[in-house]
Symmetry: C2
Subunit: 629 residues, 2 copies
């Protein structure tokens, strides 16, 4: 990426965590570059380098030397850590830069909702309201000893144990007379304390590659007290999983940093939820985290080298309970993080959570579940033989707006819907902002419309049927929004390269599903349900996805867009021991398919890059949306 400043006529700037890319002339400031990219960056002092608010961090690439105002506003430590003022720092080479949330106005849309019925509660954790006996004048057993006596009296004898941090909490509370409190228990383990009659609360976390979604749940009623999400800060170290794994492999410092930022993010999502719901974080006594295998390894700082090559052996694949405190999560002293089991390779705990959330293992008809992301996980369940096939295909970041010339994530100004009226395309943007780029669902819509309107042929070539299809710097391109109508005064285009990215992505998903059907010996019309999970999946236009062949056309299937299914599964396992046991049996009964071992896979994959996929029925047939999930 490092080009010398003397020879380049433009530099590529990538703004993280939104993933917005822009090519600008060297010597531009980062603030100017950000604005060129259509980002709404705030600069309190108007960009004259005195307020010091526009701090950004250079992740990769070279900038000019810091000048006087940066030396004034930033410490030596800041500067040597790559912190710069966006309004002063000038670009020298291609750079990747992290923009803190507070500095960027308008936030990225992060899907946290998923469809589900009321949660069935059967939690690990007990809560008890008790009054601690006061010490007698003569004999004064310790605080913990008096508590253990009272608990044994009420619950029968157990081997009571507590971490020092829980004992500290008790000992401070015990100085009050009378001392009435709520105690949280897991068997004989005393997890922590709260004021009298406070609830036991848990946090379910869907740790995604792109976003982290958190849910605050009352463990005994199942009531959701709050939900929220933030971008996964690891994005700053790599947009896709492989890049992050390679980054973490550089050394223990890098691996530790990757673990730390994601732990801090989980902590901060949870603490924000607590604040909003007026819950003391020490009332959070249980957590459940799901994510794919690589994300869980990075979270727990496990070795990852073996995840980068076949046979992709995980360090662990069973469920696991980890002390929240050892991960730096500051909740009840004894709070634990339950991690759902995974199936193997990249088919992880989030996939098991999706199966759990939508009862895929209990269906009466064949069902396909997919969670589209940089990697797309697919499950096919066939109830007669209780056959559950699972696989993961590398679908790349195109459906998240990545690797697309004017792609971006679903933030303000992202084109998310494309409609055609008599061959003319019109657009809907996130938050109705001025268009600045295309997010995943917009990309799918656009490709579908380009194909439907004949601007793209069945091999994916852009055709000059229209003055908007033109020769650009990088070959053929379609002019989506001219500079005069865009939010940043530059053309928004969709290039021939972008079409290819989409072809590779959609073919991977399609071929994954088709291969599993073939392996199971099922015909497409035998499938009763297709469940599309994930943020992208819920904003996706199903017609468009089926038309371009990202999803197969299943004649008898109900299509359901269920939103964040992994998050729902995490919530179910958070509040229920039975759900945890079921997740264990799902993982134990699942078969992982390595598609590269399937002899027909490459043939199917090649065919699936076409529009429409050969052998597929025509786009005119309607697909059935599902009524229920």
């Amino acid at each position: 990426m490092d080009k010398s400043a003397e020879t380049v006529d433009h530099c590529q700037v990538v703004f993280q965590p939104v993933g917005r890319r822009v090519a600008v002339s060297p010597d531009m400031t980062l603030l100017e570059a950000g604005r060129t990219a259509g980002l709404v960056l705030s600069a309190n002092c108007g960009g004259i380098g005195v307020c010091g608010r526009c701090r950004v961090q250079i992740l990769e690439g070279r900038m000019d030397e810091p000048g006087e105002s940066e030396h004034y506003c930033l410490s030596k430590e800041d500067l040597s850590a790559g912190t710069r003022l966006a309004c002063r720092a000038r670009i020298r080479t291609d750079v990747s830069v992290h923009v803190p949330a507070g500095f960027m106005s308008g936030t990225q849309r992060l899907q946290t909702d998923g469809e589900h019925a009321a949660l069935e509660c059967d939690p690990m954790i007990e809560r008890r309201d008790i009054t601690l006996p006061q010490p007698a004048a003569k004999s004064c057993p310790a605080d913990l000893t008096r508590l253990a006596g009272e608990l044994s009296l009420r619950l029968g004898p157990r081997l009571w144990a507590a971490r020092p941090e829980a004992v500290a909490q008790l000992s401070l509370l015990a100085r009050k007379d009378p001392c009435a409190l709520t105690v949280y228990l897991n068997g004989g383990d005393i997890l922590g304390f709260s004021a009298l009659r406070r609830p036991a609360v848990g946090i379910a976390v869907d740790l995604g590659c792109t976003k982290i979604a958190g849910y605050l749940i009352d463990l005994h009623s199942g009531r959701q007290l709050g939900a929220g999400g933030i971008a996964n800060p690891q994005i700053s170290y790599g947009e896709d999983l492989i890049t992050r794994l390679v980054y973490a492999l550089q050394g223990s410092g890098e691996a530790e940093r990757m673990a730390r930022v994601v732990r801090e993010a989980i902590d901060s999502v949870g603490r924000d939820l607590c604040r909003q719901a007026d819950i003391d974080p020490r009332e959070v006594v249980d957590l459940c985290v799901v994510g794919n295998t690589a994300m869980m390894h990075l979270l727990l700082q496990l070795p990852i080298e073996q995840l980068l090559h076949a046979p992709f052996i995980a360090a662990f694949d069973g469920d696991m309970n980890v002390d929240a405190m050892s991960l730096g999560l500051r909740y009840a002293p004894g709070a634990r993080v339950h991690i759902l089991p995974s199936i193997g390779g990249f088919v992880g705990a989030d996939h098991v959570a999706m199966i759990l959330a939508h009862d895929i293992d209990r269906r009466q008809q064949a069902v396909i579940g997919i969670d589209v992301g940089t990697n797309t996980e697919i499950v096919l369940y066939e109830p007669k033989r209780k056959l559950m096939l699972n696989t993961s295909v590398p679908s790349g970041p195109a459906f998240e707006g990545g690797h697309i010339h004017d792609g971006m994530r679903a933030a303000a100004g992202a084109i998310e819907k494309v409609s055609a009226h008599r061959g003319n395309l019109s657009f809907k943007t996130v938050d109705s902002g001025q268009p600045v780029g295309l997010c995943g669902s917009g990309v799918v819509d656009l490709v579908a419309q380009l194909w439907r309107t004949g601007r793209v042929n069945d091999r994916g070539h852009l055709l000059r049927t229209d003055p908007r299809v033109r020769k650009g710097e990088q070959g053929m391109e379609y002019l989506v929004v001219p500079a005069s109508q865009s939010g940043h005064g530059r053309d928004i285009v969709f290039t021939q390269g972008d079409v290819s990215e989409v072809q590779l992505a959609k073919a991977a998903i399609y071929a994954g599903i088709a291969s599993l059907l073939e392996i199971a010996g099922l015909r497409a019309d035998e499938v009763g349900d297709l469940i599309v999970a994930g943020a992208f999946g819920s904003h996706l236009d199903l017609e468009s996805a089926v038309d371009i062949g990202a999803l197969p056309r299943l004649r008898n299937a109900r299509y359901a867009q269920v939103g964040n299914a992994a998050g729902v599964g995490a919530k179910m396992a958070l509040v229920s021991c039975k759900a945890r046991a079921r997740a264990r049996s799902i993982a134990a009964g699942a078969t992982r398919i390595e598609l590269k071992d399937h002899p027909n896979f490459n043939r199917i994959l090649a065919r699936a890059t076409r529009f429409p996929v050969s052998g597929q029925t025509t786009p005119s047939e309607e697909i059935k949306p599902s009524e229920t999930t």
Copy 2:
């Protein structure tokens, strides 16, 4: 302590952690003051302020403003944290200063040995040598799953669990083929791994107020692989417990600092022992720590305010297992620290360890055990009624050389023995160094000799029977060593105030023992054994101690000086589940006596300040040293 520099003609300087005190004229540098105090301080550059090696930390009091060379050698952070160069910083008021170990030549003698038979092993921890099955090409269960399968095959099914750090260790080892390793287990908990056929090792720690002693033990053979000790670094924050508790009470930062320094010290003692014995610290899978109640509360960072006033309620008094990692101890990932139970108030886990070590709870004759320190713990066991009375008396630091004009701890040059020949006293010093002060055993010997030779009367007054008894700056004093013969060129004196300190200390111990005998209804001649534990106790001249009335004269008792009994108890509990269970039953069966509630205590205490204690037999009778312990 803060006097204004204008009015003082001398300032008191206390060097920590050795506890050496010296009065010097203001404006002296700390280096000069240290040398005046007889400390061997190294100054690489000869004290001209350029090498920056003589860094010390000002704990209390005021120094002059740092000059050019200190600004050159020290960072702003250093200076604002109170770091100075000893060769440049000049004294303005009374100061307390911490001298890092590397800067002081010659180390303090730290008692770590205690008498005991071979350890009976029955450890918590299992070790197994196994070969991890390699993953098959088609199915590739995770590393932990393959290990759990192999363990279940060999040991029967258990609920196998491991911390992420242990999984990480396994996963790195699992990349080798064949993968043969030693696994450490505690029930179903997988604690960690080592190379094939390596031992399971543990560390026993006696966490004393003054010193920290550590023992590296093979858990299955009981073989001691090493022993070592260092000064408790908390000394820098207070010589006695109460001062430390008050310091820790100032805020959470102070409490955290007190916990951190002692945790780091334990970690470093252990790692040093591992290095010397060629043991990988990850082979350390279990620890056992004993200490008094306050020390354990400081270690675990528990609330301590309630320990400062009656009824002295501890936060915990049962035994406890704490994750070593959560204390920052870097051994096997799953290593735990077992903490022995305590009896209540200041009668702590170290006292229980002493009872355990010397089978005090199993004796056939009445027995007294004492561990002399700033607080002295006393146990009296009467086998017929299985009566075990325990108490703690505040004996102060005089017997450790504290609060004594020329007192010091047992470091090179400390007078540790005083003999009399025809009324003339002669001295033996630690390491035969030039005399610079008196350590505890020297203080006791000196007082005994002063009394025997008529220089001190029965009320403790120094009498002018000798030209060496003279009027000093602080009243009467005895010239122990004239300046011409001392290691620092100044007189070593023993003041009237020093005699009083000893009177208070010895009276507290004597009155504690006498009160317990009275409460138990036992006569002195019914006691079969007197066990004197602790560093001071083992260097003590028993005749001197009995003569001055620090210990009672028990006509039929064997006197045993057993060394570090608490350390021995910690070792026994480290390697044996049975010993841990016995410690639990000792604590459960013990009665704590609050001496201030005993109506005769103050009367006994007042009488016990005399030489000899009234009612006691004359010094000429010989006491019986014990043959066995």
